[in-house]
């Protein structure tokens, strides 16, 4: 017994209305990257006639995501599933091909840069590679000063310096080190500086794209702790992109699992880890290398992720799914409510798994 929902509706936690309020709403998001170059390169002679042929990478194909105020929403999936593209579109670094993104009720995906400015202060991003995301020719002081000057042109020099000292101390970097450059710091320290830069303008929403993937295990723990402390201190909302399910289990409030530009499953973290419903989620979970001996047997998926240039018909996962039938090959599954999770799978809907 399951009903098809037009739009995902998440059951509210009884805690507080504030906590359940939707901060970011993504509806029907699509992103296609042209693959075939400019107009002239698209022209081909075929059967004696000039034809124009265009190819696209279908990176995102109709994604609906809600981020609620105060939560950590983790987006997981393998490389090429479009998780980073979603993050970049939310931040306005890429513009969607279709669909809309609403922040606090306001549509933001069609705003011009000037109109977007107030939102840029409220939303900040932390990138994966702290070696690439800090300008090597700027001192840490300058790196942290730049967003403050930009977003607070009316602040005095002293106000800016005070703020820089404050955020540096809050991420555990000695404010005395402000004159140093990025290369003088270790990977973990650089990521702290990148976090400090995001926190400097006092955002309420942070998009973190694999913020700890490039770091060592003992440093990962430090940075995750820092992110959790910052969330508590500033009531932050996170959209956390990662491929590391162990981190998700620890850190996430809710999880979105993506495959080939579509959402396969959305659930509270506990629910998802206790009972993954979508066959892809199940396979993903079983692949985590565990410390214990008696981990679940690894579910082998036949084949490989298909190319996003020619998307499979129907469910994007059907070619590798052990439960696929004829309907899966033709009809695109929608997210349906199934025992506390939302799953886009015909087999789950029909009760076959």
């Amino acid at each position: 017994m399951s009903e098809v929902l037009q739009q995902p509706q998440y059951h509210q936690d009884g805690d507080s209305a504030q906590a359940g309020e939707t901060l970011l709403q993504i509806r029907g998001l699509e992103k296609h990257f042209p693959l075939s170059g400019d107009f002239l390169e698209q022209l081909r002679f075929e059967g004696g006639r000039l034809k124009r042929r265009q190819e696209f990478v279908h990176a995102i194909n109709g994604v609906d995501i809600d981020v609620k105020r105060g939560e950590t929403l983790c987006v997981v999936g393998e490389s090429g599933c479009g998780k980073s593209t979603v993050a970049r579109m939310v931040m306005g670094l890429l513009s969607p091909s279709a669909g809309e993104i609403r922040y606090d009720g306001q549509r933001i995906d069609d705003l011009n840069p000037r109109q977007l400015l107030p939102y840029r202060r409220r939303m900040q991003m932390i990138f994966q590679n702290p070696y690439a995301s800090l300008n090597p020719r700027m001192s840490i002081q300058q790196t942290l000063e730049e967003p403050l000057r930009f977003h607070h042109p009316d602040w005095s020099r002293q106000q800016i310096l005070d703020k820089i000292g404050e955020v540096m101390a809050s991420v555990g970097i000695d404010p005395e080190w402000g004159k140093r450059f990025g290369h003088e710091f270790s990977g973990g320290q650089r990521q702290r500086i990148a976090i400090a830069r995001a926190l400097a303008v006092e955002p309420e929403f942070i998009v973190a794209d694999e913020p700890i993937s490039a770091l060592d295990v003992s440093i990962q723990a430090q940075v995750l702790n820092l992110l959790m402390d910052a969330q508590e201190a500033h009531h932050l909302t996170y959209l956390f992109i990662t491929h590391d399910l162990a981190v998700v289990e620890h850190f996430g409030t809710r999880v979105v699992v993506m495959y080939l530009g579509r959402v396969c499953e959305v659930a509270e973290t506990r629910t998802l880890f206790d009972r993954p419903r979508h066959p892809y989620t199940q396979a993903l979970m079983s692949a985590i290398p565990r410390l214990e001996d008696d981990g679940p047997d690894h579910i082998k998926l036949p084949g490989e992720v298909p190319t996003p240039v020619n998307l499979p018909s129907g469910c994007v996962f059907h070619g590798r799914c052990p439960h696929a039938n004829d309907r899966c090959r033709h009809e695109i599954p929608q997210l349906i409510e199934a025992q506390g999770s939302q799953v886009a799978c015909h087999a789950v809907e029909e009760g076959r798994i």
Binding site: S218, Q220, R290, E292, E304
Partner: protein, 349 residues
Amino acid sequence: MALLEVSNLDVRFALRQGEVKALRDVSFTLDRGERLGIVGESGAGKSVAAFTILNLIAKPGYIADGSIRFDGRELTTMKPRQLQQIRGNKISMIFQDPMMTLNPVLTIGEQMIECLKAHRRIRSRDAREIALNKLRQVYIPSPERRLDQYPHELSGGMRQRIIIAIALLLDPDVIVADEPTTALDVTIQAEIMELLLELCEKHNVALILITHDLGVVSQVTQRTLVMYAGRVIEQGPTREIINDAQHPYTQGLINALPQMATPGQRLNQIPGSMPSLANTPPGCAFHPRCSFSDDANGERRRDCREVIPTFVRSGNCDVACHMVRELVESRPSESDASDDNSHKHREAL
């Protein structure tokens, strides 16, 4: 006799700023068919250890001291020609990034045949047959077609399978795998690891697996070596190290994993970061980050600060830590005390 015996290995890099001691006093053995994991964070020296075994250390690096014996023969002093008979033949290597390992301008077949011809007098047709056979062993679909394809036509997981096939080409006794799955997705990682495990067991090949992922080590290896700042600090049976690590660093590393903490709570972090190899602290290199090494007055213990710890036997593990030594030596009897002590050690955490 062990198949591979590394003893007191010292590797240094002579740089303009001074000498960097990348490996210090590293000793371990590997038996035929055994699977050994080398774990550590970046800069711990695990890759240098792997490269040294194959004598792939290039200037300014050099082996300052120690010996590597393979099947009774000393590798460190061997002539390049003799080494050629062992490297790639008896000991083969799998590198981290499959795209960097394969030559982009040669087909898979050409690369495999080239490798066979370099080591054996063999006709091209026979070499092709062997190559085909190895591709089947690593479960590559339609292997005949793959032989004529170029690396860029294959996916990351497929490329790493080809690398494994090439590593197996000459039926080696040892495979050294340096982070073989770090560049891959989890589901592919699980497949590649399963394949590696299966092949090593089937052909009785010994494996040295270098990784930073404790989960992978615990799934694949029988024995584990933990490295920190160029030294081995703990070694023993993998299960014992995962379940009951003795060295404070190993404990810290395992406890820092998200799965060891209650969801939503702070993780147990190790303060600070790994020292640079050019400037390692005196005494135990881990002492500035160690949470146990304070004495009764709240000061860092003198021996931790000044004396380099030597290995002490605790259970089935060898641990280089002054405090573990103290615990072991204070044990009333050798027999049942080991559990008790490790608990005390744990409680202090």
